[in-house]
């Protein structure tokens, strides 16, 4: 049993470490492009991966607490460390997704909308902490996923009309889907069961695909 716990903690740390590393490589690897251009799209894209790094750091910390102390996600909500970590995780993961969405949509939406997303992410984080219900957290994220998927698809068809080319909209939708699976994995014990490793590998593949494109294009 102890061996299984150690293996699970090891898997979690490795998974989070790789995602954090990929996210930070993307963030710092695109720094020069942003410094040279001050392009808002590049800024939002970079911020998305900074927030992914923050979210996965706190995710791994919460997972460590759950596995090491054999707790349920909402057992440690009353403790300050667990409560703050969960709040930051929910806020940062929502912001990562919102920034990614905004990096594609900022030209089409007039005015700076990012403050609205910060408020929305804060509301989601507070609700998640207050309700302490996996079902409600999941419902909120499924509604968000449907919204994000529709906006991304609309953006995809718009860009297809403008020019032919390979875009990463499909990868973004997969990223949104894995984001929900990560929330499920964190809030419902053993929710992914035997598929956990496969989902982790698929999630890593999505991040690696984005990293590959970044390295290829950013140089």
């Amino acid at each position: 049993m102890q061996y299984l716990t150690q293996a699970s903690i090891g898997t979690e740390i490795l998974y989070s470490f790789v995602i954090i590393a990929i996210s930070l490589i993307i963030y710092f690897g695109t720094k020069e492009l942003y410094n040279l251009t001050s392009h808002k799209g590049i800024k939002y894209f970079r911020m998305a991966f900074l927030f992914f790094a923050i979210a996965f750091f706190f995710r791994s910390f919460i997972k460590f607490l759950i596995l090491y102390f054999d707790l349920e996600i909402f057992d440690f909500n009353l403790q300050m460390v667990g409560m703050v970590s969960f709040l930051i995780f929910m806020y940062a993961s929502s912001m990562a997704i919102f920034y990614l969405l905004y990096s594609v949509m900022w030209k089409k939406w007039t005015g700076d909308k990012i403050i609205i997303f910060h408020i929305l992410a804060a509301i989601i984080a507070v609700i998640a902490l207050l309700v302490r219900s996996s079902a409600i957290i999941l419902l909120i994220h499924i509604i968000l996923f449907i919204f994000l998927a529709i906006v991304t698809l609309i953006s995809y068809y718009d860009s297809k009309k403008r020019r032919k080319g390979q875009h990463l909209h499909g990868v973004y939708i997969l990223l949104f889907a894995f984001w929900i699976l990560n929330i499920i994995d964190l809030t419902i014990t053993n929710a992914l069961g035997t598929f956990q490793i496969l989902i982790y590998l698929a999630s890593l593949s999505v991040f690696l695909a984005i990293l590959y494109k970044v390295i290829q294009k950013a140089g």
């Binding site: 040279l36 894209f45 294009k217």
Partner: protein
């Protein structure tokens, strides 16, 4: 003719200076940039602030010179455009 993006205009201004042996006076630069004086002024000030160009006093008068950072922009321009297009930013 399609409207030039901000990135293209910056590239064109820097390229104009570069092709002019990296030394050009303001008046011919305005003419070659295909911008109104007001628009040119906006870009010119931004390029100065960002450190892409500097003004230098020579015997013939004040000239514009592209800095190392400006050359870096020209060098990375294709990457920048490719990156923005790839991620639809």
């Amino acid at each position: 003719m399609t409207k030039r993006s901000k990135l293209e205009i910056v590239r064109d201004i820097l390229k104009t200076v570069q092709t002019n042996r990296n030394s050009i006076k303001v008046t011919p630069l305005i003419r070659k940039s295909n911008l109104s004086s007001a628009r040119f002024s906006e870009y010119f000030n931004e390029l100065l602030t960002k450190g892409f160009i500097i003004e230098r006093i020579e015997k013939s008068g004040k000239v514009i010179v592209v800095t190392e950072k400006g050359f870096r922009y020209l060098e990375k321009y294709q990457n920048i455009v490719g990156f923005i297009e790839e991620f639809d930013l």
